[in-house]
Amino acid sequence: MTHPITEADVRHVAKLARLHLSDQQVQRFTEQLAHVLEYVAKMDELDVEGVEPMAHPLDLKNVLRDDREVPGIDPGVALSNAPQRDDPFFAVPKVIGDGPSA
């Protein structure tokens, strides 16, 4: 159904997943993922025409709570694990600058 996964695929996916991989990791992951995907291809043996996809085991739909105010998490508490903060905000490196690296 699909071509075997290549090192180029792995590099592309790593970029999508925001992961830096070393050349050695790329090589190893390509082999390991190819092995797993080969096994996954077993699914192709089945005719699934007309089968409804099952994303979830429960038949719950549109679970809504009553529209009333309830206490939420305090901003100070929400920020308590922030690696860097500038209250009441999370702080990150400059976003607009000399152009993206990735």
Binding site: R18, K42, V51, E52, P57, L60, Q84
Partner: protein, 496 residues
């Protein structure tokens, strides 16, 4: 009948025995906590079942219980353990990952809070495969947990710390989480009971998400009545988890055998890949139910072999999405000196996650990426439906089985390192457990016997599977096996 036992904490054979001893004043909660802390002190250094121990707060809680604070509650004074992926305001909720090594949760998971509200005393949190991804607990960023029966062997995973802690009697019971077998597989490999409740039975609020349509919290226990009690405490609808099922669990009597019992035996689980001792434990369990008057019927679960392929697409797809939140911004590990924001994300994630987590994020991202979504993810969801229909046919159509009886794992505990370089071999350990997660069934692994390997006994598990929300029946059927075999009374020699 206690074989090769080195002495249980306070001589109690079960959580309920200990709970009653505390309630009647025979044992104080402080003594109970001290007895367990002593055992942890003695054994945990080597076994590494607990990743963090809360000695001071546990003793403080015990003093409150002895002062009468939790009198009459279901678990008053009972020392328990929680898995490292369950948020609590005590200590660090690290998911056994470098990513969350310093994370202090501002809230407590509902299941953990329910234990505390019932009077239980949390002794600490147990080691696990990082983000619950693994079947051996070798993927923890903090070190490996040893199997109390043979310390050259893995305890299973991902809830390996909880299973080992209960097996070695370092706590009266423990919580684990099961996404593809992460409670049942380590329970089987450590010779304890591991219950995966129906999806939605127990709130997932405060459970660090791995695969949201599969994750479920459940108990490890030494006896079926203990497991039933733990479940009744943690079960129930939770407004904080929109996928928790409506309604609560009705009280039930686990001692009541199921009448006109029909046990289904799936032909597809008779595999050459099964260790002969696993097949023998399965046959013995079949005989137990036959002797109890049950009707044994062959059932077909023709899509069994597609479970692993479906699971490793669905679970990794959901994981790749869930783990996108670890970006080094809001909490968790942040890399030093990033070039810019994107570099901050990439560096933080690359430094914070271990290889197995990266591998699964990669697989899931690939399965969801443009051009592959239909071939992998959507196809997997369709096959998932077929797997669910297999169970429905066995339970509700023609065959009308009350439960399906099968092995928990293809073999006993394996050696450290044996499957670390071959992810697929590791994944195949979950071949008999993943399908219950995909379908949303209630399942349990029971101690089913032993096999001697290298001069040491290793436990084996048998599994019972019931339809969704049939935990009461599941536990009553399991109790019949427990009473007939006495396997839950066996303890590891603990020559560590």
């Amino acid at each position: 009948m206690r074989l090769e036992c080195d002495g249980m904490a306070l001589g109690c054979n079960s959580l309920i025995e200990l709970r009653d001893a505390i309630a009647t004043g025979k044992v104080s909660a402080v003594d109970a906590v001290r007895a367990y802390l002593d055992r942890i002190e003695r054994y945990n250094k080597k076994l590494f079942a607990f990743r963090e121990v809360y000695a001071d707060s546990a003793l403080a809680r015990a003093r409150q219980v002895d002062a009468g604070e939790s009198r009459g509650r279901a678990l008053a004074g009972v020392p328990v353990a929680i898995k490292d992926c369950m948020c609590s305001t005590e200590g660090t909720t690290a998911c056994s990952s470098r990513m969350l090594a310093n994370y202090r949760s501002p809230f407590t998971a509902t299941a953990v809070q329910k234990l505390i509200d019932a009077g239980a005393i949390v002794l600490g949190r147990t080691n696990m495969d990082e983000f619950a991804m693994g079947s051996s607990t070798e993927h923890s960023a903090f070190g490996r947990t040893l199997n109390p029966w043979n310390t050259d062997c893995v305890p299973g995973g991902s809830s390996g710390g909880s299973a080992a802690a209960v097996a070695a009697d370092l706590c009266a019971a423990a919580l684990g989480s099961d996404t593809g077998g992460s409670i049942r597989q380590p329970a089987a490999l450590c010779g304890v009971i591991g219950l995966k409740p129906t999806y939605g039975r127990v709130s997932r609020y405060g459970l660090v998400a791995f695969a949201s349509s599969l994750d479920q919290i459940g108990p490890f226990a030494r006896t079926i009545p203990d497991a039933a009690l733990m479940l009744s405490v943690i079960a129930g609808h939770d407004p904080l988890d929109s996928t928790s099922a409506p309604g609560n669990m009705d009280a039930f009597d686990v001692e009541q055998p199921v009448q006109n019992l029909r046990i289904g035996i799936p032909a597809q689980y008779r595999s050459d890949a099964n260790h002969p001792a696993v097949s023998a434990a399965w046959d013995e369990a079949i005989a137990v139910y036959q002797d109890a008057g049950a009707k044994i019927v062959e059932v077909e679960l023709p899509h069994t072999e597609y479970g692993i392929p479906v699971y490793y697409i669905v679970a990794t797809a959901e994981a790749s999405s869930n783990l996108a939140r670890y970006d080094g911004v809001h909490y968790g590990h942040r890399a030093q000196n990033p070039a810019d924001l994107i570099d901050l994300y990439c560096k933080s994630r690359s430094e914070g996650f271990g290889d197995e987590v990266k591998r699964r994020i990669m697989l899931g991202t690939y399965a969801l990426s443009s051009g592959y979504y239909d071939a992998y993810y959507n196809r997997a969801l369709k096959v998932r439906r077929l797997i669910k229909q297999d169970f429905d046919n066995a339970f509700f159509q023609g065959r009308g089985c009350d439960a399906i009886l099968c092995p928990s794992t293809p073999g006993p505990a394996f050696k450290f390192g044996e499957k670390m370089d071959d992810p697929l071999a590791m994944y195949l350990n979950d071949v008999y457990t993943v399908n219950s997660n995909l379908a949303g069934n209630a399942s349990i692994s029971l101690p089913g016997g032993f096999v001697e390997i290298d001069g040491k006994r290793l436990p084996l598990g048998v599994q019972l599977i019931c339809p969704a929300f049939e935990e009461a029946k599941l536990l009553r059927i399991a109790r019949m096996h427990e009473k007939a075999t006495g396997y839950t009374q066996h303890r590891p020699p603990l020559d560590v």
